[in-house]
Subunit: 201 residues, 2 copies
Amino acid sequence: MVKDKNTEQRIFDAARIVFQQKGLAGARMQEIADEAGINKALLHYYYRSKEKLFEAIFNEVFSNIVLGLQNLFSKEMGILERFHAIVEIYIDNLLKNPHIPLFVINEINQNPEKIISILNDKVVIHMKNFLIQMYQEMNEGKIKKVDPFQLLMSVIGMIIFPFAVFPAIKGIAAKNQMPVETFLQDRKQIIIGYIENILKP
Amino acid sequence: MVKDKNTEQRIFDAARIVFQQKGLAGARMQEIADEAGINKALLHYYYRSKEKLFEAIFNEVFSNIVLGLQNLFSKEMGILERFHAIVEIYIDNLLKNPHIPLFVINEINQNPEKIISILNDKVVIHMKNFLIQMYQEMNEGKIKKVDPFQLLMSVIGMIIFPFAVFPAIKGIAAKNQMPVETFLQDRKQIIIGYIENILKP
DNA sequence: GTCTATAAGTAGATAGAC
DNA sequence: GTCTATCTACTTATAGAC
């Protein structure tokens, strides 16, 4: 039995929008159906339950993030270059999907075991290689000696935080007659500058 | 008519715990009642509705944050000293209440107008003075020339992000046999070090 | 596959006894 | 003030026609 790709995809896209804005508990199946332009019953026809629909969305979103991380950490490049890539690629991606951080952060808090096990399975290896590379470059005197994990956490925090409070940033930006996109675009070079200040020997 | 402070306070504390963990939509009045060790009907006796109870909690939490900001920005001190204080005080406070960041971030996203108007009324003035002070010290050559707002956003991001993904950090820390509290305590000096690197002329 | 109508379950809110 | 019992509304989920 072949599924109608069009309808299924429309449901999927609608669900992603609603779940990202309202979260699992706050979303309504009716709202998703309206957003998809179809009837509520069809949601259950394609995805048996609200939970299953949510899981389908989350898995797609999160596996994209994991793929992005794997990609960033598997390529051969120096540490500064790598941080440069992390900042550029993530801010560009988040500008296209500013709701993703809060969506993922909420799931981390509601369902930590699931996320931790995925991270352990698919990300930790790359993370370890990254840490090893940092220690190498530190010993070679290419970069200053710092705690690699703390730095990584800091960089991710600087990247993600403005998106987690996006509406507030937007409000503040509007008050200063600056498009929020400009603020976030500028941020790329600024964060990279910080990292260079921190790491340059 | 005098309210029974004990019961009201127990409801309030229980509601804070449940709302912070589950959010407005995810929380159940029954769960709050259980947590408070009283009956569901009493919740409505003290706070007319779920929404009103949530608002009471949020207002208390958020006004504490605003007070903290006002306090930090009103005291006379140099810029580096001020950043030092921001980092120390916020990490210490968040270690006591690690759920607050996500709680506030969610409300920022669900109810941005309310938060923006409070910020405009009570925080923007202090923020402006802070920016003025930064420009002064930059012109005097005490610190390097940087975008003050971007730096502030970065510092706040570095402070708050680990708490927003607390369960994940905890999981990773556990895997490395390190208490998450140690990781976050260490972070204070590390972030302050970053800021000095960024601002030292 | 898609719809309408409806069932079944849940959650917030209230009535009324004590 | 506090409880039990109940009401009402909403939401997910299903049955069944087309």
